[in-house]
């Protein structure tokens, strides 16, 4: 019984961390949002070299969760859940290049279909790509697609797990940035982080994330359904985003301030790959029968 990362897993997480920390992922995400995919494609290639796109077929869900937590922490844009979690599991092989899919009703649009080399509906390739719709997250370019395809249950669960891990990473990032900010910002002659109103709000975020993490990794080990991880990580990350915005005040409400990347991403991911209501109902069905 050892519910901590082993040495290989820690090394992998550290390698991802150092790659992403050196990649100016904020600039990558902003370019992606504006339709310039070049920096994002380059980053995709470097992450693929590190093995991120082959984890679903060659590693365990723990490594998948680790990778997606890092992608969330750095707001890396692109159809990662689709290419590195769902499709390789559903197809039983690593995906060539960048692929995406729609999977109605839970995934009604294909993410970044304009960049993808292949667009699926479920496991069926060759979907016809239609109009673009606008996401709350400017880095998520959503497209209507037509086609038919079945849901692959294991693939869906891995996608749910990956999304949960992304939410966890995004929530951690927002908390870290909020803590940094409230230690610098002074009002009434004191750092605002010395006021209990601020402290208690951020402590609640710390607590929510601390208890979402074991569900994400517990789900990766098959101890709890992925739905439990999605509900908890979604709730925790959303609390982080609301609290992070509130303690930043007006500057947090601007698109220019980088916090906006995570605030909008968290809002999008909370309902992506199954809404909280869907996952709660699914869990309850499993419990009550």
């Amino acid at each position: 019984m050892r519910f901590v990362l082993d040495e290989d897993q820690r090394d992998f997480a550290a390698a991802l961390e150092s790659l992403l920390a050196a990649s100016d992922t904020v600039a990558v995400a902003r370019a992606w949002a504006d339709g310039d995919h070049e920096p994002g494609r380059k980053l995709w290639g470097r992450l693929a070299e590190l093995g991120v796109t082959s984890l679903a077929t060659e590693a365990t869900p723990v490594e998948v969760a680790l990778a997606f937590e890092a992608l969330g922490r750095y707001a890396v844009p692109g159809p990662w859940v689709e290419s590195a979690a769902y499709l390789p599991t559903a197809l039983g092989r690593e995906v060539d290049g960048i692929a995406t899919l729609a999977l109605p009703p839970h995934v009604p649009y294909a993410l970044d279909a304009d960049v993808a080399d292949e667009v699926y509906v479920g496991s069926t390739p060759g979907a016809e790509v239609g109009d673009r719709v606008t996401s709350v997250d400017r880095t998520r370019h959503l497209f209507r697609v037509t086609g038919d395809g079945e849901t692959h249950d294991d693939a869906f669960d891995l996608a749910v797990l990956a999304t949960s891990a992304q939410l966890l990473g995004a929530g951690e990032r927002v908390l870290a940035d909020a803590v940094t900010y409230v230690k610098q910002r002074k009002q009434f002659g004191r750092e605002i982080g010395s006021y209990q109103a601020i402290k208690h709000a951020l402590a609640d975020v710390r607590i929510a994330l601390d208890f979402a993490r074991p569900l994400v990794f517990g789900a990766a080990l098959g101890e709890v359904p992925a739905s439990a991880a999605k509900v908890a990580a979604g709730d925790a990350a959303y609390l982080a985003s609301r609290t992070g915005l509130q303690v930043h005040g007006a500057i947090g409400y601007t698109q220019e301030f980088d916090l906006s990347l995570w605030l909008t991403k968290i809002r999008a991911l909370v309902t992506a790959w199954g809404t909280p209501a869907f996952h709660r109902a699914r869990l309850l069905d499993g419990l009550v029968g």
Binding site: V182, K183, S194, K199, F211, L215
Partner: protein
């Protein structure tokens, strides 16, 4: 990363499960905060001790099994799953015993641990005072040196002392150096509650039962042999108790997992979709607590300590406990106000965010010691 139990741990689990299945009383015992229930729970402790299940993590020389942390959590899971009685000996075995093991003399260990393990002597904790609650270090009860008799003379008042209404001995902090400020000059004392000069006045709690009491000290003599740790070092000694109380030892995950499973059963009997989310969230959080605990156990087993993470833990379980019981009462509808196990559990859960350091104090600790936020300027000192 894995959550597999070893063969030895599985064997331990089976042994505990089988013993509990054969011995847990079919009918719940009367409340341990009544005279009748207190004795019934002491008798249960005796039964546990006879089979060496009362203090599994203690050394075998003191009736334990030298259980590892993993085995301890496994035992607690089995204990609550079996619906076994609450632990009337909890203050002693979980809060005081770790301190006696760490700071007690061999003579004190031999004198106090055996009757603690059997439940023969039940301990009350005497921390809070009327003017010292969250700000415990401002306590005013005094210990005056008596060289002639070789000990100390206690005066003052403690309150909200858990189990004191029926317990036999108490433990608490007293100011032994009147010139020292706050955390300095405090000494940790052990004392029989029937000593000359001690008056115990039970206090009826929200549910009407005398779960705690006021304890008055009027020139109570305590010999040097009943001082725990060095005189003046009481704060440091006591804080190892506080860490235990907030952390692992008081609230094992088994308790919440068992309650969440019963909540799911209740929902199965009275499925009201209006409260479905509350049921699912209670189950998710109980699982989160279970898994989080395995992470903590892994860290502790590798030589780490709880540190401020005990505060993260305490806020989470105390709020989970209330939410879980509120949902059960929601499901019971108009029956909710009628006496039931759920109502008892609910009333008990309401004390969780208050005792062992209020959740406001815990959030300060999380913010200052984990997030590194600046300390709030303190009010004027006495």
């Amino acid at each position: 990363m894995d959550l597999q139990l070893s063969d030895d741990e599985l064997a331990f689990q089976t042994e505990a499960r089988e013993w509990l299945a054969a011995h847990v009383p079919a009918e719940p015992l009367p409340s341990l905060d009544t005279a009748e229930g207190f004795v019934a729970h002491q008798e249960w402790e005796r039964q546990l001790a006879d089979a060496r299940w009362s203090v599994v993590s203690w050394p075998t020389s003191y009736s334990g099994r030298e259980a590892s942390l993993v085995e301890w959590v496994v035992f607690e899971e089995e204990y609550y799953r079996a619906g076994a009685p609450g632990r009337v000996s909890q203050n002693g075995i979980f809060l005081l015993a770790p301190i006696i093991f760490d700071h007690g003399t061999p003579e004190q260990q031999d004198r106090f641990l055996p009757t603690m393990a059997t439940g023969e002597r039940i301990w009350a904790q005497c921390w809070s005072e009327p003017e010292a609650g969250s700000d415990l270090a401002s306590l005013r009860s005094t210990a005056r040196r008596d060289d002639e008799r070789g000990g100390w003379v206690l005066n003052g008042q403690k309150t909200w002392s858990s189990r004191a209404s029926f317990a036999h001995w108490g433990f608490g902090l007293f100011r032994s150096d009147p010139d020292a400020q706050r955390h300095a000059g405090l000494t940790y004392f052990l004392f029989p509650l029937d000593a000359d000069g001690i008056t115990v006045r039970p206090i009826a709690q929200l549910d009407g039962e005398a779960g705690f009491a006021e304890v008055f000290f009027e020139d109570v003599f305590v010999p040097d042999s009943d001082v725990l740790g060095a005189p003046g070092d009481g704060w440091r000694v006591a804080m190892s108790t506080a860490g235990n109380e907030r952390g692992l030892s008081l609230r094992s995950p088994g308790r919440f997992c068992a309650a969440a499973d019963r909540l799911v059963e209740l929902y199965g009997e009275r499925p009201d979709p209006a409260f479905a989310d509350g049921v699912v969230d209670a189950w998710i959080k109980a699982q989160a607590y279970r898994l989080y605990t395995w992470g903590t156990v892994t860290r502790l087993a590798a030589g780490g300590d709880m540190g401020a993470a005990g505060s993260v833990n305490k806020v989470f379980w105390s709020e989970l406990d209330i939410a879980l019981h509120e949902t059960a009462l929601d499901l019971l509808g108009p029956e909710a106000e009628v006496g039931s196990r759920w109502l008892d559990g609910y009333t008990f859960s309401l004390s969780g965010p208050i005792y062992a350091g209020t959740n406001e104090i815990q959030r300060n600790i999380v913010a200052e010691r984990i997030l590194g936020l600046p300390r709030e300027p303190k009010g004027a000192q006495r």
